[in-house]
């Protein structure tokens, strides 16, 4: 991967984002005629990052620090206040099928079956047979064979996540964004999904930006972790993890040390 022409290469330059803080601007203040616009709340403070082609990056940070905001900007859903995001040499202007977003809640369209949802990603392909083959292949990969004609509400939470993953993969995107995709899944399903993402990533070698607040999850999965500070978010830690998979904290003291270090960085002194 990544010789000469890089695909899925993301450069974030000097990115800032602020929001109008409405809570500090109650309507009563507006009554005396002075137009109170609300204070600007800085969420991202001059973030500079570069993601290599094919990297699985886990983004960690305290709750509400701006992880989701960052990734939404990189995916083109929200504009930055200042700074730029460049993927594969082109500045991001809006959402595109080159970067597929896997949402925190289920982003499957509930009125479409699993099959119809997955077919959304290949609907512009001309060859009908090839289209169906691609969709089936992805459904098989996420182990949903036989569930194609069910509607999302007929699936369990884990199956919904996998169906959404299949829909994202069928597009063959350069970058995959996952915003806490395992939120709301039970512990066992979570472990299985982690494994599936690791395997899938080894197989397709695409850049994945994975937001999580679960430190162990990040350490087990990622090629690289980026830890953000409290709001306004700045990069606090940026580490490559060269530990082989499968990773085990008990057997790898270096990993265990790192785990303790990240916990401390995030303000917890005893990793349980």
């Amino acid at each position: 991967m990544g010789f000469g022409v890089t695909m899925g290469h993301v450069v974030i330059r000097n990115l800032c984002k602020d929001f109008v803080e409405r809570r500090t601007a109650p309507r009563i203040l507006n009554a005396n005629g002075a137009l109170h616009k609300g204070e600007r709340l800085l969420v991202l403070d001059r973030v500079d990052l570069q993601f290599q082609d094919g990297e699985l990056v886990c983004i960690l940070g305290p709750s509400g620090c701006g992880k989701t905001t960052l990734v939404r900007i990189v995916a083109g859903f929200d504009p930055p206040t200042s700074g730029t995001v460049i993927t594969d040499g082109i500045e991001v202007q809006g959402p595109s099928p080159n970067n597929i977003f896997v949402f925190q809640q289920s982003g499957l369209l509930p009125w479409m079956t699993v099959w119809e949802n997955v077919m959304l990603g290949v609907r512009h392909m001309k060859d009908k047979k090839q289209k169906a083959a691609r969709a089936q292949e992805q459904i098989d990969i996420v182990d949903l064979t036989g569930y194609e004609h069910l509607y999302p509400h007929q699936l369990s939470g884990g199956m919904q996540r996998r169906a959404e993953l299949a829909r994202a993969l069928v597009v063959n995107p350069e970058v995959l964004f996952m915003d806490e995709p395992f939120a709301g899944l039970d512990f066992l399903t979570r472990l299985k999904m982690r494994e599936e993402i690791i395997n899938m990533h080894e197989f397709i070698q695409k850049t994945i930006l994975f937001i999580t607040h679960d430190i162990d999850e990040a350490l087990v999965m990622a090629d690289r972790i980026v830890v953000f500070s409290e709001r306004p978010a700045t990069v606090k830690m940026d580490l490559r993890l060269d530990f082989p998979h499968p990773r085990d904290f008990a057997r790898d003291p270096a990993l265990e040390d790192l785990r303790r270090q990240v916990y401390q960085e995030l303000g917890v002194h005893y990793a349980l």
């Binding site: 809640q105 009125w111 479409m112 509607y151």
Partner: protein, 254 residues
């Protein structure tokens, strides 16, 4: 819990029989003559008479035609306009107050103008039915569009949906669970209004039949027309409820 099939059919019949018995006993106890207060037997005889000579069928068809026309017009205009105003904020702000201003004006208040504009015949009646069902449908559609999760539009943007695709693959299916009940209610309203609309300016329809029978002091015919209105109402409701069986709507009730 679902009841057995035979119960679903038999229980409403029991209710009807009880009502008929009550009706008959009230008639007997009141001691009024059949020409003032016809009992179920007189009503049945009158209905049978009107069925046999084809009057009831003729008037029912006339009413159904007007309802169909007015209702279709309301759906054809109300749904697209509702979707447009639901998505287009400026348009919504411009139109909303006007809609809320026109909505409480009873369609019956339009009768004088409708007759003046459209003259005698089907047109004023169709216009009134249209008015009666258009506004509730428009308002329900706009509300339904406003309640679509932004997440679905983000998915649409992510997968590069065209405008047409956003309408056919996101907006329409997303609002269907709310719009189907609205369609059902509006059809009920349309059928409700047709009777009033036919009491003016037309010489056919079940509303006209009621007015004409009253003038002839034939209360049994009045009841016959009322029975026909009720029966057709039940049938229309059953018919439109079939839409709820569309599979891709089931997610709305989860």
């Amino acid at each position: 819990m679902e009841l057995e099939r035979w119960k679903q059919f038999a229980l409403p019949c029991v209710t009807f029989v009880v009502v008929l018995l009550l009706w008959e006993s009230v008639k007997r106890l009141s001691g009024w003559s059949a020409s003032v207060f016809p009992g179920p037997l007189e009503a049945a005889a009158g209905t049978w008479e009107l069925i046999r000579n084809g009057t009831l069928l003729k008037h029912s068809v006339a009413s159904l035609f007007r309802v169909t026309m007015g209702y279709y017009l309301a759906v054809l205009l109300g749904l697209p306009l509702g979707i447009l105003l639901g998505r287009w904020k400026t348009g919504f702000v411009m139109a909303n107050t006007l809609v809320q201003f026109l909505r409480p004006i009873s369609p019956l208040a339009w009768i004088p103008l409708a007759m003046l504009w459209f003259g005698i015949g089907d047109k004023p009646a169709i216009f009134l039915i249209f008015l009666a069902s258009f506004f509730p449908l428009l308002v329900s559609t706009i509300t339904a569009v406003h309640h679509i999760k932004t997440l679905y539009f983000q998915v649409a943007a992510n997968f590069n949906f065209s405008r047409l695709e956003s309408v056919t693959k996101v907006i329409l299916p997303a609002i269907l669970p709310q719009v189907l009940p609205a369609l059902r209610i509006c059809l009920g309203i349309a059928w409700l209004v047709v009777v009033a609309a036919e009491m003016i300016a037309v010489k056919s329809g079940l509303g006209y039949l009621i007015l004409d029978s009253r003038n002839a002091l034939r209360m049994d015919y009045v009841l016959a027309a009322m029975i026909a209105i009720g029966l057709i109402g039940v049938l229309l409701d059953r018919l439109i409820s079939q839409l709820n069986k569309i599979k891709s709507v089931a997610w709305g009730s989860v």
